[in-house]
Amino acid sequence: MSVNQHLLNVIDLKTRFYTPEGTVYAVNGVSFNVAHGETLAVVGESGCGKSVTMMSILRLIPTPPGKIVSGQVLFNNEDLLKLSEEKMEHVRGKEIAMIFQDPMTSLNPVLSVGRQLTETLRTHTHMDAAQARTRAAELLQWVGIPQAGNRLGDFPHQFSGGMRQRVMIAIALACTPDLLIADEPTTALDVTIQAQIIDLVKHLKQEMGMAIIWITHDLGVVAGMADRVIVMYAGFIVEQADVYALFDGALHPYTLALMEALPRADRRRAQKLKTIRGAPPSLLMEPRGCPFAPRCEFVHERCIQENPTLLEQAPRHLAACWVNVLTGELRP
């Protein structure tokens, strides 16, 4: 597949933070792509670098402590890392939109919801005040807020958690972006509300055809939503595959371990949950060798010496591991 066909192409992205305690190696050479209209899930636990990667793509990293050290972010074949801040502002909101985990802190609590919508609309399009207002009411209705017209003047705290998230989605999709980045948008919501929001996003995607990057730590949500999945650990991508292929047969020990640590609501309890010994590595040290080696049950000498590269181990299924997890032997 030629590079030109991808909507987003991230190549060897490295982001670090320079702090008094030392250098934080947050993102260490991450490469992936997103096709038009595709839903890509990014899975990992806290500290794996998934949020920092997305913030780096949108250049929202505060640059005194943070720095995008190297890499390219090709969006519609244009390198976002080389754009001027002014042009970048045009990209954010209009072409790439982002929604966050906690709508209470990402919505401005002192501005009405209608105002926040119309502001986005008027920044990126040529609507006048009246047109923007009409469109704002339409958007609220579209995301399923009852009596949308009356609620334009309400403030974020007057909505419930699920409703606020819908408002965030409305703001994000107001200018019909090509890519929506969702950073754990349902983690803080109740499970029935989460189901509603996921349902909504799926419908909106069908209507609008945008690509989605969905960040989560919940493998169940991934199974329900994603076309492809990337698994991150300690600032690296350790596995990348089609969603069915990943759940059928994960190839990286970390992914396998995560799946075995999960209890299931749809099956009778089989045995004790499998745990991963140890703890995630400190990001303050320059990575040497495979970051998962200290905790891996398949570890070999080579893993400690050399960080495995992300290689295609099966058709369109990449894993960064020297070991064949089915046999436990080193790959040739």
Partner: protein
Amino acid sequence: MNPSSNTIPQFIVEEVEPPPLPLSQLTWRRFVRHKMAIFGLIVLSMLVFYSFGGGFFVSEAYANKTNTSLRLDAPVAAHPFGTDTVGRDILARTMYGGQISILIGLTAASVEVLLGILIGAIAGYYGGWIDNILMRFTEAMLNIPQILLLIIMAKFFSSNVPNIQLLGRTYSGSVVVIILIIGLTSWPYLARIVRAEFLSIKEREFILAARATGTPTWEIIFKHILPNCIAPIVVSATLGVANAISLEAYISFLGMGVRAPTATWGNMLEGAYNYIETAYWLWFFPGILIVLIVLSINFLGDGLRDALDPRSRTA
């Protein structure tokens, strides 16, 4: 509560576990960055040394020795700060006066802190009508100008108090009276702060955990909640010392504070009232000492406030 940090942006905080640094080290590091606080600490130490250390070189009798032939002499080698209206050496008097002023500052602040903590803790922890009554009383006290209260109480109480012997010195009983009334009129500020801290801390989950353990109430108040609001108490106590010293200076200057022959920097100013232009050394030296000590304590308090702020966890 995840450690918040000024240098690492909010969204990454949960992704990095900071290396454990003992709280005391962190606090010291933050304090040391405050240049004015270090300056204040140094100047304060010098003043304390001057007042208390000076007592080894100069006896109290000498400080009180009158010699009318030398009265109102300008500063010379024998009397570097000059002499006062009855010929006493001002340098020596500032040393002994300093002891009293600092002593008053410290003990009045202690009275204030004790009362403030007690009232604030009870009001904050129990709430309800106890809180209501205590707070209305506190507010009433806050509305009366402290100086007025001090003057009235000083006038009323200090006339008939005998002298006391303590630590090898004789004090006018008015010192104790002044300490008590400054302490008794300064506590409302601290009480409000302590109450606010108690109101917020008692809702925290570790307090519920202590109740679930069966910990008795007084232990919860003094061993659980109080250690968590040490920071504002320390800052308030420090500034309270400076406040007490200046209040003492005010009322002694008005003639209602500490009585003769005990010297304080404040009542030395009173004696200078009529000689402001003619004998500047009468008011200049005690005055500058008061300014220096109040300033240095304030700087120190500022530094402590920043260093002890639990929200800032970077060094």
